[in-house]
Amino acid sequence: MALSLSKQAVLSKIVRFVLLVIIVFIFFLPIVSMVVTSLKSMSELYRVPPVVFPRQPQWNNYIQAWTMISYERFFFNSVVIAVFFTVPCIMGSCFTGYGFSRFRVKGRNAIFMVMLSTMMIPYMVTMVPLYLIISKTGLIDKRALWILFGIQGLPFLIFLFRQYFSTIPFSFEESARIDGANRFQIFFRIMFPLVQTAVIIAAIFAFQWSWSNYLLPVLFLRGEKVTLAVKLATGYVDQKQNILHNIGMAGIVYYTLPIVIVFFALQRRFISGLLSGGLKG
């Protein structure tokens, strides 16, 4: 009986492993397709029957993808916007999450529910009128707007910080209060360092959000200031306005790379942090 049980366990492991390998393989196909396409020559791009692997990898596409649109400018724009957004977003979410977790105040839960239900508001319902308002005030084309967008935090991150703070016992703060520290000293010296994992998760989320966001930059930025999301959405074109898919894919590879690096560098803490802290409430 015991033997057959362990045999069963081994068998189930093998079956699950094989199924997962198949799924991973299928999930990888679009990525492979992206990389391979970025290395094709123009004539290989549309050849029928299709060319699976380019005969000669066209590394030149990667140079073209950079120089054709002065990539560094838009890359820089995206980085600036992401930093302008991410830092205030972490602070705002952390502050608000702390507030919701720590102060037993009348009406707190009602306000928290309002905060969560703002997730239901379609973003265009707020963003399109906001654009109409801001375009009148002349604040258009100002990167500083992203600091303001960031400060309010993201509902999910506020929720996450609240979860993390509520796992910290009250006694931590009480002893500091007896020593005469005020609320902000307690927050910055004691509480903030204790939620490092949540800060990492928030940083990745906020950075990813701003890096991939299309609507805000397309509404609020113009010409030279637009981000990669806006620039790459249109694709690369030649003089006859034909879309150059191979160079476009090379541009997309550059665009995805920072996320890949950040994600894989921090993935262990990111995923286990999400699993342990964020989702159990």
Binding site: V24, V128, G153
Partner: protein, 313 residues
């Protein structure tokens, strides 16, 4: 007396601190949500266009116009079909992957990371990757299906199944769903499975009697949030456009009827046709629809979702 005063000052201090700490959110809520929403709602009741000088109050005329326009109604229908298929398939994929990853397995962490990863890729990038991947003649998807013998001739996925090809993006990005289910699975105690196993329950009877009921709150949470997000798809139809695009602004070429989702239509109405009021009215209609669907869902959820407290009480 002094004691009462001191507790009330503590309470007041606490209330003030509370509002100071949540003030970043309150600021954003007022400036970026309440004000634009009120402005949008009032504008939707006027005849405002891009260059309207004499703004006039027209009541619900814009809403009546939209509700009596079969094309606008079709936008809602196709958005609804998309949302339903997107949510079901993405949640199901996440569930299956999470169940496969549930217990000890060599390389479990690596699988988890890799399968989560597509969720991190920016949407614009995913859109372009799939535009190439699903291409009729040169796309890897058709090549793959031919190789394993599932299809015999190339299929124009984006041309024939435009809506379906946008759903496929959601399936690929189901890593979020997987993580939520994994979090859910970790709350189920091993003893429950162990005792059921001793009683002779096989894998599938344990799956349907224990695991899935206990996961239902997590599935429910995803249904609610995923529906809300899916109904707001706007940029994908422009990228996965059946016609070969030309350069210029991406949002100039209107997507086909099947993927002219409500958000896409609203964006087109406001920015390409300059009909501000009409577009804002459309957004408001979508808002109301989302609200109703979410409330209905939460009400229905009470019947479907397994809850321990109910069982005990």
């Amino acid at each position: 007396m002094s004691r009462i005063r001191s507790t009330s000052t503590i309470a007041r201090e606490r209330r003030i601190s509370f509002f100071i700490f949540i003030s970043p959110w309150i600021f954003g809520f007022l400036a970026f949500q309440v004000v634009p929403i009120v402005f949008g709602l009032t504008t939707s009741l006027t005849n405002q266009m891009a260059f309207t000088v004499q703004r006039k109050f027209v009541g619900l005329a814009n809403y009546v116009k939209l509700l009596s326009d079969p094309e606008a109604r079709y936008s809602f229908l196709t958005t609804f079909i998309f949302t339903l298929s997107h949510t079901c398939l993405a949640v199901l994929t996440g569930l299956i992957i999470a169940l496969l990853l549930e217990k000890e397995l060599p390389g479990r962490g690596i699988f988890r990371t890799i399968l989560y990863f597509p969720y991190m890729i920016p949407l614009i990038a995913v859109g372009w990757i799939f535009r190439i991947f699903l291409d009729r003649d040169t796309g890897f998807f058709n090549i793959f299906l031919m190789k394993i013998g599932l299809i015999e001739s190339n299929i124009a996925w984006i041309g024939q199944y435009t809506r379906g090809s946008i759903v496929s993006l959601g399936i690929w990005m189901s890593g979020w769903s997987m993580i939520i289910f994994l979090g859910g699975l970790s709350t189920i105690s091993d003893e429950l499975h162990e005792s059921a196993r001793i009683d002779g329950a096989g894998y599938f009877s344990r799956l349907f009697r224990i695991t899935l009921p206990l996961l239902s709150p997590f599935a429910f949470f995803q249904f609610v949030t995923s529906n809300i997000y899916a109904m707001q798809k706007f940029i994908e139809p422009y990228i996965l456009h059946p016609k070969q695009q030309r350069g210029g602004q991406l949002t100039q070429q209107r997507p086909p009827r099947e993927t002219f989702f409500v958000m896409t239509r609203a964006y087109d109405t406001v920015f390409n046709r300059n009909q501000y009021a009409l577009g804002l009215a459309l957004l408001w209609l979508l808002f109301v629809v989302i609200l109703i669907i979410t409330i209905v869902f939460i009400k229905l959820g009470g019947f479907v979702v397994y809850s321990e407290t109910e069982e005990r009480g």
